[in-house]
Symmetry: C2
Subunit: 222 residues, 2 copies
């Protein structure tokens, strides 16, 4: 399956691109608002994969063109760009496309990081509100430490939680997640259950800050 990683030049996008290219046969394309940057990063990913014996072509495009070329469109952009990005690519989306959103809103104060819940209820819901009516939205990959994800030498052994109101779309994203070694997809229900998933990300950062030896944390449900 062809997967477009919009914001694929950022650290979460890089991690997902490298993992899918390394562990699966899915074709990855990199999107960015700046097509030159997308092409440059795509070449870097190819070089990294080639050094590990994986020769694959990764193309880079402007976001809309990347979305147009893929069935799975992952919005690996900051939370405050999520709605804008969906609106910018709306004309490129077909009914059998799936939008995947891993973004969460955080803010920091003196005590630590906190979940910054948008008025819509969650960032996942913001994306759903901005998406064309017939295009399903799946929340996934919210709680992954980007540096660990992008380091192909790092074992994962962690879970990712999926929310969607469209069960077929959720099943497809579950299979995509399951293709990444060490990542276990778990179903967390409908889109309305997204806030508690997004709130887990600042908690992971706080726990890493306060405990020696713990960093780049993920979570395992057991």
């Amino acid at each position: 399956m062809r997967i477009a990683l919009l914001g694929g030049t950022g650290d979460v996008g890089e991690g997902l691109a490298l993992r899918w290219a390394y562990h699966t046969d899915h074709e990855v394309v990199i999107g960015s608002r700046d097509p030159d940057k997308a092409r440059t990063k795509a070449e870097e990913y190819e070089t990294e994969l080639s050094s590990r014996g994986v020769d694959c072509k990764i193309n880079g495009f402007e976001n809309e063109m990347a979305a147009d070329r893929a069935r799975i469109i992952v919005l690996a952009v900051p939370a405050y760009h999520a709605s804008d990005t969906v609106e910018a690519i709306a004309d490129s989306l077909d009914d059998d496309d799936i939008l995947v959103t891993p973004a969460t809103g955080m803010q920091r104060d003196d005590d630590g990081f906190h979940y910054h819940r948008p008025g819509a209820g969650s960032v996942t819901q913001l994306v759903a509100d901005a998406a064309p009516e017939n295009v399903p939205v799946v929340g996934a990959f919210h709680n992954l430490a980007a540096g660990r994800l992008a380091d192909l030498d790092a074992d994962l052994g962690i879970d990712t939680l999926l929310v969607a109101d469209d069960d077929d779309a959720k099943d497809i994203v579950r299979l995509l997640a399951d293709g990444i070694d060490g990542l276990r997809p778990l179903d967390a229900g409908g889109l309305a259950n997204a806030p508690e998933i997004e709130a887990l990300t600042p908690l992971l950062v706080n726990v890493a800050m306060h405990n020696d030896g713990l960093h780049d944390l993920g979570v395992r449900f057991d």
Copy 2:
């Protein structure tokens, strides 16, 4: 150390009472609004422990009397009783006592369970607001599945997160948590970081509801 479990007749209180009595030398006392119920449940716990070769005395009292007898007072009561319970026992609290709160607010709708955040910011903060000024409050044991905790045959292998503004009090509760086999205490910072911990409990319930074979879930940070 003597630990009072207020609401110790409920399921979280039962689990903590049994685990501390079974795995450590701490003395446990059970509190309830109804002293007869406290005594009856304390005898049940003694019987359960005795059947496993642990002979110890567990006394049951009305909440205020239980609090008066202990240095560590765990508020194992529903979130909506947390403030009332603190007010009811306030005269029994000394400056070297520590209040521990595991309660979290949840509400259910058609989609699943959601974090019901109180106006104070968190249930943990509600307890801190109700506590006498010199008595430190530690949030801990929020995300433990009660049935699994109370089943001494069940392995834990999970984490519990601690928040407090008083580092000495947090250290003491960390040691108490660490005494329970299979429970790893992790520091999550100050009281202001409690909401994301409390929000994890409904998420655990949602994940257990939507995934065959997963139930009584806890969480491991890795």
